[in-house]
Amino acid sequence: MQDLISILDLAKEEVLEIFEKTDALLRGKIRLRLDGKIVSLAFFEPSTRTALSFESAALSMGGRVLGFTSEESISVAKGENLADTVRMLDNYSDCIVIRHKFDGAAKFASEIAQKPVINAGDGKHEHPTQTLIDLYTIKRIFGTPEGLTFGLLGDLRYARTVNSLVRGLKFFRPKKVYLISPPQLRLREEIRNELDYPTEERVDPRDVIGDIDVLYVTRIQKERFPDESEYEKVKESYRVDVRLVEEMRKDSVILHPLPRVTEIDRRIDSYPQAKYFLQASLAVPLRSVLLHEVVGGVEA
């Protein structure tokens, strides 16, 4: 594998292979090593989970990590452009994991770097490694994402995790995907048009909640709104509360890429459907497998 910019850079077989290896890693069947390898974390935009889970993954395999998690601490604050920063990291490491506020920044970085580039979120465009974690979590719970009914709830317009997830679901032929959002935050038409499985737009999750196997909730991406007044109109326009979850089937699940703000009531955390912490816990093993594939480590 060279670069991972979009989830569609992977073939279904590669996705399944990553899942199999993650299973094997979690069962202690394989040991992955990255001795002598250096992973750059180029986080031009804040991150907690993604940056730390990549770091933990690299360190747990004996690799080393260098980089930054904000623009303030590096020369970008002095006016250095992205291309020059990427050239430097390309010299210093075996792989660049990049997060950036601008759409397409990861692809641009991949054109400059000789070493592989992994997109850890580029603006409102894509976040493919989160989708691998999402789909893997679903596979762990249901055996496969195939044939399930999904409800994607929240900011479908600006959430990069949603773009990658709806594309990733093309590998698994879901029964149906409900796109549930305020009208202003609907999935962008060009993305919806490329989907080859049944979708339906909804505003109120209550209308379809009984049908749903996987409710995938996203935060309203305040930082991506072109202006504050647009954000004010939709903020807190949806919330997963006890009333809603009581209407869900017992064998259904709630996922969230985290961080959450107010869109999931904290009382839901103790419900059997709440699987977002399990989802978050799978980030390190999955990203370990991915880093190992991309950097080319030793497997024992």
Partner: protein, 155 residues
Amino acid sequence: MKNGLIVSKIKNGTVIDHIPAGRALAVLRVLGIRGQEGYRIALVMNVESSKMGRKDILKIEERAIEEREAELITLIAPEATINIVKDYEVVEKRKQKVPDKITGLLRCTNPSCITNNDPEAATKFKTLRKSPIELVCEYCETRITEQEVLRQILE
């Protein structure tokens, strides 16, 4: 030509035919011609065409069309034919194809696209549809319609 709207032949230069009606001025803009350059130009607009219903034609004396200009012309006039004239005769008839990729000529309309925010990131568009033109930014996947291409060329 019907209706007696006759423009005499040019001696040496270029005739661009089959321009969609009303777009000859945009084609001149693509060529960077604003009138002060001194070229002798005949501009025929909205005349009958058996193929297109109505069309525009441009005749420009002593001006060749470069490959890159021809590519740009196809974005707003995908059916255009470019005739090279020497000594009153058409010596070459070019039917330019809409390119599959367009680099650096147009801007992405997404203000958050990396191409609008890094001086080294030149725009790159893939052609999704040729007539009317529809492009997609290779970086952020924003779609650009014919209307936007025209707007950028005419601004």
